[in-house]
Amino acid sequence: MKEKKSKNLDWHDKPQFIVRPRLPQFPGIFDIPADTCIASHTPHDHIHEHLHDHLYHMHIRYGFEFPKQNLAGIQELAPLVAMMVKVEHRVDCNPIFVARGKGSEGICLKIAGQDVHWTPDDTVGKKATTLFAKTGRKITNGYYFAGFSTSDVSERKTFRYSREELLRSIGNGLVADQHFQATWKEPVEKEIEPYEVIIYLGDDFTDYHTFFKLPVVVPIGAF
């Protein structure tokens, strides 16, 4: 009798945490208009959750969606993000926003009963660099991937979410906006000239990931 060979898993049989980039959903948070993904600002009045309003900074903002999914094979994971920015800049993360709040503030996504925050994670930057190279592309000279993993509100260490917690949050699909702010590593009195930013989204458990580019000027027809 012929021995039955095990079948290699197809990519769609492997655990996946699917995240899809999309245009931003909530105009006005941090005074960013609807059709803007990249915006350079001079210092301005304080806005709650805004990290660098007192410095020259560049907003990096996009929308994303966690579509309805069963998360089979996943026990827990931490979502990851990295963005390619200039070496003289650092990036800091805002929480994930699910609506516009009072004035220019955003309302934070909660998972597992707490606001979803991010903590800088150098291993994520390295992972994004490696995966980007596998696509046949190289990081532009003078740029690097600044990486982050999800954290609790202390923003000092990675926080992983259980499958159950993720399923409860995603439900039939979750749409949200993500904001980051780049600023000079050594603060100077100089505006940051806006530049396009490549974003990596993934997680620390599955192989699923995606790259996309945020343009300085969003093309006609995108909205």
Binding site: P43, H46, L51, H52, D53, H54, L55, R90, D92, T119, P120, S154, E155, R156, T183, W184, K185, E186, P187, V188, E189
Partner: protein
Amino acid sequence: VRDTISIKGKQIGRKRSDRSDIKHFDIVHIEDEFRPVGPAENSIVMVSTYHNGKVSAKYIPFVGYFDLDRQKRLHPENWKIIEPSTDFLKRNVLWAPFGNEQGNY
């Protein structure tokens, strides 16, 4: 001649100085709004205390303890984390928000 101000906030760290003219650098989280004469609410500043008695302060782009954790990991001998934070008040501070006279952190 620039005016001097008071720097009031919570001290979260201290950096040893490798400069002959500076004693040490204090890392202070500013909790209240002092603009336009002083630092912004929720900013973090580095306060330099000189051997000659002069004190100056400028912004650094830190956003919290994570930045101190990272510096401490990279240069453990140079950095001290103060946690929980302590009240900090220093008068007659030369405020140069984007100054570079203190060098890189």
